[in-house]
Symmetry: C2
């Protein structure tokens, strides 16, 4: 493998000194870019794009051609694991993800296989290998997975939900069935992420998109405990470097203290908490990744620069900050505003690292 | 007016001793009740039901016939104010609320009138008067309004949203226009709630459904400050009794400390924080209302009783707790589970008040 030319992102995740604050964006390869929409049209369906390593590589690299981002993230979806378990994933315009075979009973949970990352999910590993070759050491590549709880919500509901009635119904009525499902998912996610690391991912992130809909007690038992088991089971070194692990629970600002005890290297933070408070809650246990409200990017360059300055100031001096949005970038954002954002992070962060 | 026979709810809001913990449910008059669905079918559209004081009274009282609830809440919608401002509200099945004339420009904000509560909104005050007569002192009647920020989200977006791009776009790009809109809404909400109190509401609640999508700084400037102004402008005594004010920001668990300084008597709390922690954050400044996950009601009576016990234990001894769900009850809940829930709150709370 080529030597890594920009390791700012990996160093910041390990709270090592850097010259400026690294920055990337969740969903940086996505619909706000016209070149993404062109590749997507060429590919066919969204899942056709995910399953095509050459095209997945193409869209992964597109934002790097436009902006001096400090990391690339594998283009894929969090629902590849349930799809590989046989649930039949499709994306229908306006309805989000849908599973043909949702999981509702003990018997259905028992029948679920643990997918082989180099079998049914080989297309993901092929994408990782292809992207690493194409990156040629330019920036590190992030691999990722959904958290067991988050995957379970889609698997039991059969798609997106606002109420979480079915998945919480199983959690409250049949906790043993839910734990069996989460256990299978934790095993699957662990081997999936380890395979991504073996294929070339240089950091991994676990997206717990729906942990924030739980009570503190249920969050611990049904989401955090399983993420902790995954973290404990991950390969933490590859190619002679540490492979940092990032946990991100959307709406989890209240639980950062608990999350910092999982053994993860860094925590994703949404914009509902000031980074100063998040830093105080987590001490020197983890790096923090975040946390600008993505809606700022609907605004104008002047306002964007102001907000970047506030976020940098809130984190303050010293290493351990990876700049990011608190959620994925929205599809109707103007790429010129993104350019202003990325430039401002690098430029305005210099004094914080002197 | 008839003397109030059950004032447990009002006393708890003022942190006065009670015999048992009072309980009511957000959306207790609603679609989970077959008798509600029958009245709704009779009325025509959802807004036809809100605009008919006799039928609004009928559905307000329906849950009290089934369950020993400690409060009634006016049957209405938070969007009556923007509707009275001329935005043209309708509810289309599957799409939620929609405004025919969303507010997007400075000129549109400037043209917005402050509605007359006994003019365009007289149907709401008539409903309050009708319900008070029908209640005949059985339990207190709660009046309510949306918060300025929450109303603004619907007014600018034109309906429900997941991204809040348009309303945050206005907030970031044209903060003066947003402040003018929020100022008009704060004036409107203040006079609307005071009119409800004059018509007979014995407590009022401000629903800040979308305050939780803001950063701490924006929450303070664009939501909390306006709620504080409303609280300061409310009639706090009527019929020789205090009229308590409840603030509820969904997703606002991180900000309870700030909210407790607004002068409100009580704070609504969702289930993302333990009541013990909420109580510690707010001290003896406010009562707390909440905070059971409404999805528990999808479960079974045994599990519901367990969860009620945990919530009561988390609040602990002493006055100042009104039991509620952390969000409105879902439409597919079995009313028999609600009966088990209400009974458990009263029975299991007795030792906490000895």
């Amino acid at each position: 493998m080529s030597e890594l030319k920009n390791d700012r992102f990996l160093r910041a995740l390990l709270r090592q000194p850097v010259d400026m604050t690294p920055v990337w964006m969740m969903r940086q390869a996505g619909r706000y870019l016209p070149e993404y929409r062109a590749t997507r049209a060429k590919a066919g369906s969204f899942m056709d794009l995910c399953r095509n390593p050459e095209l997945a590589c193409e869209v992964t690299l597109q934002p790097l051609e436009r902006f001096p981002l400090d990391a690339a993230i594998l283009f894929s979806d969090i629902l590849t694991i349930p799809d590989a378990m046989g649930l039949g994933l499709s994306f229908n315009t306006g309805h989000g993800p849908q599973f043909e075979h949702p999981v509702r009973s003990r018997a259905e949970v028992e029948r679920l296989p643990i997918p082989d990352p180099e079998g049914e999910l080989k297309y993901v590993m092929d994408a990782v290998r292809t992207i690493r070759r194409a990156l040629d050491g330019r920036v590190p590549l992030i691999g990722f997975s959904g958290s067991p709880w988050t995957l379970a919500t889609y698997m039991v509901e059969g798609g997106s939900t606002k109420e979480f009635g079915k998945v919480k119904g199983m959690m409250f009525d049949e906790p043993d069935t839910m734990h069996l499902l989460l256990d299978k998912l934790a095993q699957s996610v662990t081997s999936y992420l380890n395979a991504q690391i073996a294929a070339g991912a240089q950091a991994v992130m676990i997206f717990d998109t729906w942990g924030g809909v739980l009570t503190p007690r249920d969050y611990q038992a049904f989401s955090l405990d399983y993420m902790q088991r995954i973290v404990a089971g991950l390969t933490r070194e590859a190619e002679g470097r540490q492979v940092p692990v990032i946990l991100f629970t959307k709406g989890g600002a209240l639980w950062l203290d608990k999350m910092a005890d999982t053994g993860a290297d860094a925590l994703g933070v949404d914009w509902t908490i000031d980074l100063a408070d998040a830093r105080q809650a987590t001490g020197d246990r983890v790096a923090l990744q975040g946390n600008m409200d993505p809606c700022i990017l609907y605004s104008n360059p002047g306002r964007i620069v102001e907000e970047v300055a506030l976020v940098l100031e809130s984190y303050g001096k010293g290493p351990g900050h990876v700049f990011n949005l608190g959620h994925g970038i929205h599809p109707t954002i103007d790429p010129d505003n993104v350019a202003a954002f990325i430039e401002a992070v690098h430029e305005l962060s210099l004094p914080y690292h002197r």
